[in-house]
Amino acid sequence: MAELPELNPVIHGKLRLALLSLLMGVEEAEFTWLREKTGSTDGNLGAQLMKLEEAGYVAVQKRFVLRKPQTLYRMTEKGRVALSEYVDALKQLLGAGIAPGF
């Protein structure tokens, strides 16, 4: 019998999974947009994004636009691979059947 895959614990958290999925569909996104889409608090969102950054799944860039600070996040290649592997593992655990849109 084939061994069942393990789910990546960094990605498995619901908010972190939502963040990576959101970033999968865009090139880069602002902190405020991610907060708006996930309905998360600043503190929780910042903490989860930091975990993803530490894992090398997202890259952060800080800049000033019209003197206002802006924090941009984008998914790294490592993050893309990790999310794809996570989806494959999920499908394998579920016995396949549901195909996500990418």
């Binding site: 999974l17 939502a18 999925s21 959101l22 999968m24 865009v26 996930t38 499908k91 579920l94 849109g101």
Partner: protein
């Protein structure tokens, strides 16, 4: 946790991934209002020019509409994420707008725009070109229909009378800018509704 509950949780994860990826892609969209705005601008410029102010009616209206578009996009989409598709669509319309502005101002001030049908045919062809490019990028049949409508207006302006050319141009503005813009806005609001429901 039972197998059914575990499966339900894993399925929920897949649904979450799918809905969030779609949400990210959709958030780059939201151009419907610009179609309506530019449709109104074309009408304003056209009728203003018809009152004998052809030299500056178009440049002034186009610059004003361009400024309103820039401010609108900045205010309503300030924190929107950047996507390749969004940039491709934006650059297509931007390139078309700049080309039209330069071409018609150069022709007009150079004194080579004596026949209004040249203006109608060229403007319709360029609008058809931009609509076609976007319809391919978005795989959107309704926008492809707009491209065909604009190209039909080009043919009518080229072979028909002045009145027929003007009428075809005005009808194309109504269908491809006003009606299509409102349709796009309705679709965008539905998508937003679905996105909120998926997040909730």
């Amino acid at each position: 946790m039972g197998n059914n509950a575990k499966d339900a949780e894993l399925t929920e994860r897949l649904v979450l991934i799918e809905s969030m990826i779609a949400e990210g892609r959709r958030s780059a969209e939201g151009w419907g209002w610009t179609f309506v705005l530019w449709g109104v601008a074309y009408y304003v410029a056209f009728f203003w020019a018809g009152w004998g102010h052809f030299a500056y009616a178009w440049p002034v209206t186009v610059v004003a509409a361009g400024l309103v578009t820039t401010v609108g996009l900045w205010r309503h989409g300030g924190n929107r994420p950047s996507t390749t598709l969004g940039r491709a669509i934006g650059s297509t319309w931007c390139a078309m707008g700049i080309s039209m502005f330069i071409l018609f101002d150069a022709l007009g001030f150079g004194g080579h725009l004596a026949d209004i049908r040249i203006f109608l045919a060229a403007a319709s062809a360029m609008l058809g070109c931009a609509n076609f490019a976007c319809s391919v990028m978005l795989k959107w049949k309704a926008e492809f229909g707009c491209a065909l409508t604009w190209w039909t207006a080009t043919v009518i302006a080229s072979f028909g009378s002045v009145n027929a050319g003007i009428l075809a141009f005005l009808v194309a503005i109504f269908l491809c800018q006003i009606v299509f813009g409102i349709y796009a806005m309705i679709l965008e609001s539905r998508w937003r509704g679905h996105g909120e429901a998926a997040n909730g």
